[in-house]
């Protein structure tokens, strides 16, 4: 037994370790960057084997995705149930703080409303259909109706309606946005739970194209976006499609009734009778006419005043 050999081994590898330890400790100070404490907490409970079984690049990648709400907490197979429970605890505290949101389908292209451009016989899922030159719908932005969003929903909050569009049950929807990620066309969107009126079209195409493809498509007329219709400024045009900022509180009644293609849908309509809806529309029109008259009057007065002013000087 040669003691000197053991000592050499101890010293050389020990020194390598010491140098690395010092460099790392120093680097962690110099290169310190603040991280979301929640990510660090999750890192603490994850078995940091970085095996990639979750499909994310390593445990930090997964932890970040979980905190950002982009991943389920059940994906860590090596950790098992204990880790899931621990993560649920960490995430559970924080999830409730966010504003409750629900999903909605930004398309009203039902079987009657939207035309097909060819008959599609491929596999019955949306992503596959997209590969066949963007899908069988004449509108490039419209819902294909194979319900991939419904499959993605793990809470049973969605089902496909007979008209070929998905329905979101607001009571059951927890706002996980799984359907938003699932839709290959990007039609599923999120809105605050309380809001009632939403824009049910996603078409960025020009007016002519849209009218050829769909009865209820947005033609980009900009009526909804002008201050007269929506004084709050919650609707802005982006190219040929209005974008609704749901964070600005607005009933959007103006847009709902003035849109020539009726692209804005009111969820509460489904609970009302046809008469009620008609009455509401009448009331809006009357109010609108009144406002218009008032405006006219005001303009006339203004003009008159200007005239008077002019003659005086």
């Amino acid at each position: 037994m040669d003691l000197s050999q053991i000592i050499t081994a101890f010293l050389s590898v020990g020194l390598v370790g010491a140098v690395l330890g010092a460099v790392l400790a120093y680097a962690s100070k110099v290169f310190h960057v603040a991280v979301d404490p929640k990510v660090e907490k999750i890192m603490g409970v994850l078995p940091v084997g970085n095996c990639g079984a979750c499909g994310f690049p390593g445990c930090p990648g997964y932890a970040e995705a979980v905190v950002a709400g982009k991943a389920d907490i059940t994906l860590c197979t090596p950790g098992g149930q204990e880790v899931i429970d621990a993560m649920a605890e960490i995430m559970g505290v924080s999830a409730s703080a966010a504003l409750p949101v629900v999903a909605y389908c930004a398309c009203n292209g039902t079987k009657e409303n939207a035309k097909d451009r060819f008959e599609y016989y491929g596999p019955h899922n949306c992503s596959a259909a997209v590969f066949a030159s963007g899908g069988h719908k004449a509108c490039d932005y419209g819902c294909l109706g194979f319900g991939e969003c419904v499959e993605a929903c793990t809470f049973g909050a969605m089902y496909m309606m007979d008209n070929g569009l998905p329905f979101v049950d607001d009571e059951k929807c927890v706002g996980c946005a799984a359907c938003v990620r699932a839709c290959p066309k990007g039609i599923m969107k999120m809105m605050p739970k309380g809001s009632s009126v939403y824009l049910a079209c996603n078409s960025k195409a020009k007016g002519k194209e849209v009218t050829d493809a769909c009865k209820v498509g947005c033609i980009g007329c900009k009526i909804c976006a002008i201050p007269k219709t929506t004084p709050s400024g919650a609707i802005k045009m982006e190219g040929d499609l209005p974008v609704v900022n749901y964070e600005i509180e607005d009933t959007l009644t103006g847009a709902k009734f003035k849109c020539p293609k009726a692209c804005f849908i009111d969820k509460s309509d489904s609970k009302k009778t046809a008469e009620e809806i008609a009455a509401e529309k009448e009331a809006f029109k009357a109010k609108e006419a009144k406002a218009a008259e008032a405006a006219k009057k005001a303009a006339l007065e203004k003009a008159a005043a200007a005239k008077e002013k002019g003659s005086v000087s």
Partner: protein, 201 residues
């Protein structure tokens, strides 16, 4: 320095002895991170980077620490220690000084510590010899690390491209997910087997 040696190393480690498809190194990330094309590309780039760096550092450890002290049997422990620290250091450095690069590659870095391709390339750099019994020198080791990383990336990106389409295929229920990924890799590996007839060495 013979340039043709570098060409031989490149062709050998990218095609003939592809790390994933012929040597079975780095299967975990190959299966794990090949679900989406963009993460596959990111992972591939990070692996190329770390493998190159690891080849350089372990070369010094081997020939300036272990060999002079006659401690070759400690290389597993020394190499893994160095690689783990290196990866952590690169991660911290990137996070602070190159945030855009970090957001693109950084998240893949920790996964690489336990990627056997990295330790594998470090050991193979030492074990592989030329016909005259000489081991790889510093440049050859580094180059081997770099090209092996490229070989890994090619396999990963090929796989990710196929798997993105596979998601939509009408498969029997029991083949969905991992099983079909393995069957697909078998087919890719079979194609790569064709390179093994190349006699360039």
């Amino acid at each position: 320095m013979d340039f043709s040696n570098l060409v031989i190393i490149a062709i050998s480690s990218i095609f003939i002895n592809n790390f994933v498809l012929a040597r079975f190194l780095g299967i975990c990330p190959f299966i794990g991170v090949s679900k989406k094309l963009d993460s596959a590309v990111g992972m591939g780039m990070a692996v190329i980077f770390v493998m190159t760096m690891a080849s350089m550092v372990t070369y010094f450890i081997q020939y300036y620490v272990l060999v002079p002290n006659d401690l070759q049997y400690l290389r597993t422990i020394a190499f893994i220690l160095v690689i783990a620290s290196l990866v952590q250091f690169i991660e911290m450095f990137m996070k602070k000084n190159m945030p855009p690069l970090y957001s693109a590659l950084g998240i893949f870095l920790p996964l690489i510590t336990t990627n056997c391709a990295v330790l594998g390339v470090a050991i193979l750099n030492i074990d592989t010899v030329w016909a005259d019994g000489r081991s790889y020198n510093f440049i050859e080791s580094t180059w081997n690390g770099f090209t092996a990383g490229i070989g890994f990336t090619i396999a990963l990106v090929l796989m990710a491209g196929i798997r993105e389409k596979l998601e939509l295929a009408d498969l029997p229920e029991s083949f969905k997910g991992l099983p079909i990924a393995f069957v697909t890799s078998a087919l890719i590996a079979m194609a790569f087997l064709g390179f093994s007839g190349m006699s360039i060495l």
